[in-house]
Symmetry: C5
Subunit: 127 residues, 5 copies
């Protein structure tokens, strides 16, 4: 069963990591950070920790001087491969963060959502 294996993998084999993004804590695994987009900056930071002097806070959480709110859908993207936004989230914020972390395909998804939104505005009836 594929799902069972995936779940066991996530919960057994992988190292748990806490990220402190702009003051908010996110718990995830090294596997999630390095697997989906191995060429991204974020993946490389956690694939080759020796080459980066990643800073951690006093509780051992990896520090990022970035937006926590717009990071959340990106971490979910790394978990399951889909970029899912609530209607009250500005895709431009996601695009900005995806670009920073070097998450190319997530950035493309965000750009597509942004364009869809702008087309929707232009196609609204004139008053």
């Amino acid at each position: 069963d594929v799902t069972v294996n995936k779940m066991q993998y996530n919960h057994k084999s992988s190292e748990w990591i806490t990220l402190n993004v702009g003051g908010k804590l996110f718990t995830t695994t090294r596997t999630t950070l390095v697997t989906r987009d191995p060429e991204s900056m974020l993946a490389k930071m956690f694939q080759y920790p020796d080459r980066w002097s990643n800073t951690t806070d006093k509780n051992g959480a990896y520090l990022f001087d970035r937006s926590p709110e717009y990071f959340e859908p990106l971490l979910d993207f790394l978990r399951h491969g889909k970029l899912i936004l609530n209607p009250n989230i500005n895709p431009q914020g996601i695009l900005e963060e995806a670009t920073f972390y070097g998450l190319t395909s997530a950035a493309e998804e965000a750009e597509k959502l942004l364009k869809d939104q702008q087309m929707q505005i232009y196609s609204e009836p004139l008053t």
Copy 2:
């Protein structure tokens, strides 16, 4: 009185459990996790803890490398059997999590909400 019994049951007989989902803590009971959908992966994890090597954080909370935001309505679903979403929540996020945890009937509910939403969009007046 059925309600009294249910409340006493929840607050007396059951073991309290804390889940750490992506960094956010949820407090619930083992009864809630295993009763509503006993065939789900989530229920099995807490029915047969010996067969799973569930990882916990330093405070004993069970770790899940998943979205906290979209888990919340699913935990409420396990509590009372209804999938209730606020208008600013994307049902696609719920569908993704319900599928991960193997919550089949909640996933079906989410899929229905997602289709309703898309039909609403298609039935909007063309401009």
Copy 3:
């Protein structure tokens, strides 16, 4: 002056209580929990604590295996007697929680808001 008395009463005479609802902490007073709807399950739990074996977490907060988000407007209701919802809150979630805690008049208010909302949908122009 009635307001002064009420404020003094709240801040002087009453015992402070912390509730842990699904993992989120709410601070209130025993007076608030037992006064507005004395026949409710919630009021009875805190009126006759000996008859209930209320469970508390390690910090002494009373544990409820329920939704924190939909509890918040109900606690405000117990504080001032009005059910006030933000537009992004689904009244169905409030109804579900009000029913669980046995808060009859709050449940009726939620049901009314739910019906108003559905009438609004049905009265929208067909496309």
Copy 4:
């Protein structure tokens, strides 16, 4: 420079105070609480602390058995004198809290926003 003075004043001369409103912590200064609306109940509580037996939690935060969500814009009002609400906030909740704390001009602002909103609803096209 007025702004510099104001900032220095806030950050130098005034006593820092933490409020625990319904379980959520707010950090502010005594100056903010007593200056904007000196006749309000809230100002009086912090102007003449001896006359009130204000209760504090174990960390020294002043306890209020009230809504945290609707208090936030009121505290901002005390900071800069404007009542600014996000579109997803029900002005009725603000009105209720402003009335409780005796913040008369903030309550009037909230009432105005509430009326504007209701007029907007009534002026919508009938279907």
Copy 5:
């Protein structure tokens, strides 16, 4: 590679700072606070700490008696230079905070968003 350098710079060379804005903690770097708008009050506070007696809480976080909610997009602005707001955020709140911290260009951006929003309201069809 410019992005790598920027990321290394943020995570290696700069001092990490925690801000306590109205009770909410934000983690950032001194570089972020002083670089984008060096003439702002906020930049000056962290450029010449000796001239300001900045107050810190017991954990060493710099205290600000201001709105946390409306500070968040401003901190992101200092990080990447764009003012990005979700649709449920009132630009007036951002304007108020940007003005307080002396962030002139962010204030101008907020004012532009505010005017766009008001024009949109005026151009809506009369009923």
